[in-house]
Amino acid sequence: MPSNSPFLRQPASVQSVMLKVLVALLPGIAMYVWFFGWAVLIQISLASVTALAAEAAMLAARRKPVRHFLTDGSALVTAWLIALSLPSIVPWWLTVLAVLIAIVVAKHLYGGLGQNPFNPAMVAFAAMIVAYPQFMSQWPAAGATDLATQINAIFGQRQLDAMVMATPLDTLRTALHTSGLNATVESVLANKTTYGFLGGKGWELVALGYLIGGLWLVQQRVITWQIPAAFIVAFGGIAGLTHLIDSAQFAGAGFHLFSGGAMLGAFFIATDPVSASTTPRGKLIYAAGIALIDWVIRVYGAYPDGIAFSTLLMNICVPLIDKSTQPPVFGHKEKRP
């Protein structure tokens, strides 16, 4: 029993929090496998093994109790998020490298669990998209789920032409940005081999899986409603508004929210407690900031999606946001501190 009060403790643990996050990712992962094949599970396994090995090595090097921290599950969450963010058919060494950057650099060199100012998974993703843009734009096509080909893509010679495609976001951006095509959002999205009801074919259901898992996390009180709600409202708001103004140039709210990393970002990336804002109002500002920057990157930037960069940019702002949004204390509510 503890030496001082309170002697009662709720049976909560960091481990149970992290396990719930992993469970919440399962619906999205199931959809991913259904539409795009087993490759993503290979990547998740690869990332998990690498993350645990890197975590153990770093803990040992830092003379921390290895078993104690290795079982907290935080490295697995980082690993899974990286595996789900990278294209599922990137070469194995790219996944390994990304995980190493996340665990070694972004997590442990900053002081380990709880100390990292930046979301480790997003640091790794940003490093990869800058260093290896050629691999980061090759995504599996929906239905091209032949396991042998995928294994070959990951571990062997890459002969991908038959199975890769750009993401639906990338396709839209390229079409709209290429002058002379006279493409409109409507004409691009009319291609039903790439696009489904709202976003990319298959991808929109993966996003739905993340949404369902994310809502469960809110219900379980692992995450609070502020970050996903502000993210979705801000993203949907700016996309919907610009779509109203010029529907030829700007895709609508549904498309944006169910494409790319929006749902994963809203419920699993922006909600990383260590690197996110902590005050109720701060969370709203923080998540809305990520959504708006991501929209700008998608529409005007050089990358098809920008969850990583927008998250990292808002991570920088967290101390300022938290400081200026401190909630009023009991009895001091008339004047904000």
């Binding site: 029993m1 503890p2 030496s3 001082n4 009060s5 309170p6 002697f7 009662l8 403790r9 709720q10 909560a12 643990s13 960091v14 149970s16 929090v17 109790p65 104690h68 921290f69 907290d72 935080s74 380990g112 669990l113 709880g114 100390q115 609070t224 407690p273 260590v274 996110a276 902590t278 005050t279 401190q326 909630p327 009023p328 204390v329 009991f330 009895g331 001091h332 509510k333 501190p337």
Partner: protein, 513 residues
């Protein structure tokens, strides 16, 4: 129906009330030797009035108030004073303190009890009687009650809140008191209201005590005159915290640094109201109280216990189980582990909780804070506990204070919910004591600095005065010279002065001749 308010945060641990609240109040047998500490109230300790060999009666004053915030202490039974001895008192550090030790004669003979009509006496007289009857807050803080019935010129007390919330898990002594003494509690509350000048009494009871609510409501229905409301408040720890209960019942938030009378309210525990009734309406000073003995014991229950009874004897009545590893005084959220059961029951003892590994499993190993914010959502004071933790741990105490460290009531909700099992409250206690120590040091340094500056000033003033005197003398001499108008005179004067000095030297030191 009164509109209720709510406080944010709070937690709902398993209440564990049912173990101890089913039986009746058991009167603990009279011990042979009673150890009555002189320090029992918040404020200054009491001043002993007896010495070894004195015969005392039950209820006789054995110590008087030791200052303006202090009360009297009484012999819990009749007998002989063995002496004023240093003895363990209930304290987290196992502190030893002077206690009046009384050997009971077994007759348990009362002093001449003099009930009074409180409504016929002025408030100041009643306050003096409360003080002399040893009435202190029995919710745990043991603050002298007579002080709380006073208020400053800018303050007022309209509403007297009677705290029957008893939000800590395991503790049921207030519950049993309300079930069995509802009428007397309200009599006492009415007297306190009369002394404080309050217009109404509001009793707040957590709704997990329906029998107590019913008993108190029935008793309130039988009364006339002063309006008394009995309100069931939602069960959520720490609803019985003074600030939280005031908030729930009135909507008022009393901030750190202010007192309830600044907002027209004052709050007393139900047991304090009962003690007031015993003291003034029956002439019986505060010599016993109800104590819950529960947890890892065979027969948990509530005992009426004399102040001064060894806690070991009390626990023995409930049949402690073999695997008890520690005993707490108070509840599991805010109580403390007793280093020794040798210590006696005091006025602040509301519960003895026998603990075991099974009852309070050791929390898993501590992990780093992941800023999940569970503590902030649980905090009933709307603080950001993880920020306070961060700065307390780093000893950046100024920052910890900026995050309202001193608004923390140490209720333990943050540590209760922390998934990293960080003993957060320990860090706040540490930071608060560090800040207090530094302020004390700074005060001492300030005094020293002021003294030094004063000395410098005085020396400078002396110097200036001397210089001014010399200047005046020189001016005088000059003036005289000018009057004489002769330069030779000046030489003569110097020569005379030199001769005078030599003469003086010779006088002082004749051997130099």
């Amino acid at each position: 129906m009164r509109q209720l308010f709510s406080f944010t945060g709070g937690v709902k641990p398993a209440s564990h009330k049912i173990e101890s609240n089913r039986g009746v109040v058991i009167v603990a047998p009279l011990p042979n030797v009673l150890v009555v500490p002189l320090r029992q109230n918040a404020g200054l300790p009491s001043r002993p009035l007896v010495q070894a060999g004195d015969k005392v009666l039950k209820g006789q004053t054995i110590a008087g108030p030791g200052g303006s915030i202090s009360v009297a202490i009484h012999a819990p039974t009749s007998g002989t004073v063995r002496g004023i001895e240093t003895h363990a008192i209930p304290h987290p550090s196992g502190l030893l303190a002077p206690c009046v030790v009384i050997e009971a004669d077994g007759e348990d003979r009362w002093i001449d009890r003099k009930p009074i009509d409180p409504y016929a006496l002025p408030a100041d007289e009643l306050r003096a009687r409360l003080r002399d009857a040893g009435v202190v807050g029995l919710g745990g803080a043991a603050f002298p009650s007579f002080v709380k019935t006073q208020h400053g010129p800018t303050q007022r007390i309209d509403t007297l809140i009677v705290n029957g919330a008893e939000c800590e898990p395991f503790i049921t002594c207030d519950d049993l008191l309300m079930r069995t003494q509802a009428g007397q509690i309200l009599e006492g509350a009415a007297v306190l209201a009369h002394i404080a000048g309050a217009q109404r009494v509001v009793v707040g009871i957590e709704d997990n005590k329906p029998e107590a609510v019913a008993a108190m409501t029935a008793a309130a229905g039988k009364r006339s005159g002063l309006p008394v409301e009995v309100i069931a408040v939602p069960t959520r720890y720490p609803a019985g915290g003074e600030k939280q209960l005031i908030r729930v019942l009135t909507g008022i938030e009393v901030p750190f640094g202010k007192l309830p009378p600044d907002y027209g309210v004052q709050c007393f525990n139900v047991a304090t109201a009962y003690a007031t009734a015993r003291a003034l309406l029956h002439g019986e000073p505060m010599i016993s109280r109800l104590v819950t003995v529960t947890g890892n014991v065979e027969r948990p229950g509530n005992f009426e216990v004399r102040i001064g009874m060894p806690i070991a004897d009390l626990v023995a009545l409930a049949g402690p189980k073999a695997d008890t590893d520690r005993n707490l005084m108070g509840g599991p959220m805010m109580g403390f582990a007793l280093p020794t059961l040798d210590a006696p029951v005091v006025k602040a003892t509301n519960c003895i909780l026998a603990a075991s590994k099974a009852l309070f499993p050791p929390p898993g190993p501590e992990m780093p804070c992941i800023r999940c914010g569970a503590c902030a959502r649980a905090c009933p004071m709307d603080l950001q506990p993880f920020e306070m933790y961060w700065f307390s741990r780093a000893k950046i105490l100024g920052k910890a204070q900026e995050y309202h460290l001193f608004d923390c009531i140490e209720c333990g909700c943050c540590a209760y919910v922390c998934p990293s099992r960080i003993p957060l409250v320990d860090y706040y206690r540490f930071a608060k004591s560090e800040i207090r120590a530094r302020e004390k040091e700074k005060d001492a340094a300030d005094v020293a600095r002021l003294r030094y500056e004063f000395r410098l000033e005085r020396e400078e003033r002396d110097k200036q005065e001397k210089a001014a005197k010399l200047a005046a003398k020189a001016a005088e001499t000059k003036a005289r010279l000018a009057e004489a108008g002769d330069a030779d005179d000046k030489k003569a004067m110097i020569a005379a002065a030199v001769a005078r000095t030599q003469e003086q030297k010779a006088e002082e030191n004749p051997s130099a001749e």
